[in-house]
């Protein structure tokens, strides 16, 4: 991995680089990478750029295969990859452009608390959250559902949770797709996927998933902060999780079936993991219907996690969550494929937009946004590593024009897990975090080291690029106070 990528790059401007279409015969469009010179060096350190070029082979791909500044080596697509295909002209959908953790995503909620008011309670709060929220590999939740209910979750998403009393109508408005993407087809989900997903609703999972108590430490756009009701020193919460075993199985089932589509539909891709089928083919439709089920499951899951979070706050502060102002700002998916309308060369087209480690960032006025965010643009939530920062951004018109309304999704990994484990000492790391006022609770000690700040790029640099390139706009920045990990 220490080899530097040999993929040719042409500088477009300070924040954009092109991989020419001529790099590999078979590329249908060029690649475009959003990065400054410093981040580009990181991206060149692994095989991400090769993957950006590979994605450019997908039939029906429009404009360019895109990589965000947090891009790094994945499998099939790079992480931080965006690709849109033209549905009406044989454009394909690829499970690799979504990933195994379908609708891995993040939500942010605010509170009425100022840091100074509750700083002595943070430890108590973090320990309570850790005990109340099931986390860890294969963790099971207290929110148990019957098989009939599980099918209901796949169609209703967050609405199922709200009907059960785990939230409010307002929460649904503040969730991408209102917490339930239309067109979910439970018939396209295998029995095994149901079996694998059972008992995991309302669980955080492991790896890079987390729940953080944060404090706002920097305001960038005061007008937007006023709109969102956010001030300096305010306590916020961020939840990062996905569709757990159900999503993994759906992805696995459809990679298995789409491997055969490569021959059946005469599709040439340089990596079998990029298995795909036309969106309008029976295989494409089935995958999309199943993927939407997992997406809805993930939204329901994050809704349940937020409910448990509100409950934990209620226990610690002994007052109802409404009184603590624990309103959801927004919930975004960052592993998903969506059928969306975009203007391409002056014409509106129906596209299948893959966001693999990338976030939707729609501009103000977009019809998909709820009334409350029509004026601000879509809130975009960018989590960083456990030692640095996270951000709230909004989508922009430039993102609509250049990136199919997409932006980065996080800091992006820099070091492999093995390299992190070799070079980072757990006790030193915990002391460092403690000295910054960050409490970490994790069910596996290995996770803390694997997810150490040193293993990630600096999210501040990543956000600088998307802001300066104009594909999203900074609203405010948070820093972590308490981190709960699987």
């Amino acid at each position: 991995m220490s080899n530097v990528s040999q993929v040719p790059l042409e500088k477009i401007d300070d924040y954009r680089w092109r991989i020419p279409k001529s790099y590999k015969p078979g590329m249908r469009v060029p690649g475009v990478v959003y990065a400054d010179e410093k981040l580009l060096k990181d991206i060149q350190h692994d095989k991400a750029l090769e993957q950006v070029a590979n994605v450019a082979f997908l039939p029906g791909i429009i404009n360019a295969s895109l990589a965000m500044p947090d891009a790094h080596w994945g499998y099939g697509f790079c992480i931080g990859g965006v690709a849109a295909t033209d549905v009406e002209s044989g454009g394909v959908i690829s499970p690799a452009g979504v990933g195994y953790d379908i609708n891995c995503g993040v939500r942010m909620l605010k509170t009425n608390f100022q840091y100074e008011e509750i700083k002595d309670k943070i430890k108590d709060l973090v320990y309570t959250l850790f005990s109340d929220i099931p986390a860890g590999v294969g963790s099971k939740g207290d929110i148990r559902v019957s098989p009939r209910e599980e099918r209901e979750i796949l169609v209703k998403g967050s609405k199922w949770a709200v009907e059960k009393g785990y939230g409010t109508q307002e929460d649904l408005e503040c969730t991408e797709e209102y917490g339930a993407i239309q067109g979910a087809d439970p018939e396209a989900v295998s029995e095994r996927a149901y079996e694998r997903g059972k008992a995991q609703s309302g669980t955080l999972g492991s790896g890079n998933h987390f729940l953080e108590v944060q404090v706002i430490d920097q305001l960038y756009d005061r007008d937007l902060c006023d709109e969102f009701g956010l001030t300096l020193g305010q306590i916020t919460v961020m939840i990062h999780s996905g569709s757990r075993g159900l999503g993994y199985q759906i992805c696995d089932d459809y990679v298995k079936s789409m491997i055969h589509c490569l021959q059946k539909y005469n599709i040439n891709v340089p990596d079998r993991q990029l298995a795909c089928a036309q969106v309008n083919s029976s295989e494409g439709k089935d995958y999309l219907g199943a993927m939407k089920c997992a997406a809805n499951y993930a939204w329901a899951n994050r809704q349940c996690l937020m409910h448990l979070t509100r409950r934990a706050f209620e226990r610690v502060f002994n007052m109802p969550w409404e009184k603590m102002g624990m309103h959801l700002i927004y919930d975004v998916a960052h592993n998903i494929a969506k059928i969306e309308k975009h203007v391409v060369d002056g014409k509106e087209k129906t596209l299948c937009v893959h966001r693999k480690g990338a976030t939707r960032a729609f501009a103000s006025g977009h019809p998909a946004l709820p009334e409350r965010y029509k004026g601000t643009g879509q809130p975009v939530i960018i989590p960083g590593d456990m030692g640095r920062n996270s951000y709230l951004l909004v989508g922009t018109q430039k993102a609509m024009e250049e990136t199919f309304g997409s932006t980065c999704h996080g800091a992006g990994r820099l070091k492999s897990r093995t390299a992190a484990i070799k070079s980072i000492n757990l006790n030193t790391l915990l002391k460092e975090l403690e000295s910054k006022g960050i409490i970490v609770k994790a069910s596996g000690r290995g996770t803390i080291v694997e997810e150490a700040p040193q293993a990630y790029k600096d999210v501040n640099e990543v956000v600088d690029v998307v802001h300066n390139a104009g594909i999203s706009k900074r609203v405010c920045r948070m820093r972590p106070l308490g981190v709960i990990k699987g």
Partner: protein
């Protein structure tokens, strides 16, 4: 990464907690499997695994995968479960990926950790095997592997037997 083999979490324990202190639990290295090594990948885990023959390769890959996933807690009375599976595929790459993914899927769905694999029958299109496992409660789970992928998958036969490289999404 080269030069060592063993599960990630063991290495964490080794480097940060136990520092090879005799009597620490588990004392490191308690058990090293020599049939695989970890490969560098930014976000995921890759392994290179060997086998004397194709059956050995499939068995060792499965053993390596579950060694990354979990480590056994101190022996407790437990029920051994045996599951027979059949897989069919167009080629050996597909059979290999399907095999590992079927194991991950069954492990999660049945809440079992598999500790051994008897490959009853194997050619490049067909596999029949018996999986031997016990309830996940007997294990400390260290790493969640979501799936085995085709990305950079390499299976080859050389002078010293069979070798495969595979990247897991973790």
């Amino acid at each position: 990464m080269t030069g060592r083999s063993g599960p990630l979490a063991h290495l964490v324990e080794h480097l940060t907690l136990n520092q090879v202190v005799a009597g620490s639990s588990p004392a490191w290295p308690t058990y090293l499997m020599k049939n695989y090594e970890l490969l560098e990948h930014t976000a995921d885990i890759g392994i290179r695994v060997k086998g004397d023959d194709l059956k050995g390769l499939f068995r060792n890959a499965a053993l390596a995968m579950f060694e990354i996933i979990a480590e056994e807690k101190k022996p407790v009375a437990r029920k051994i479960e045996k599951i027979k599976i059949k897989q069919r595929a167009d080629d050996i790459d597909e059979l290999f990926v399907n095999w590992l993914n079927e194991l991950l899927s069954l492990s999660a769905a049945k809440e079992l950790i598999f500790s051994d694999f008897k490959i009853d029958k194997l050619d490049k299109n067909n596999l029949q095997a018996t999986l031997i496992g016990t309830n996940i409660k007997n294990y400390k789970v260290n790493t969640e592997i979501k799936a085995a992928t085709y990305h950079e998958l390499k299976i080859k036969h050389g002078e010293s037997g069979w070798q495969a490289e595979v990247i897991f999404d973790v």
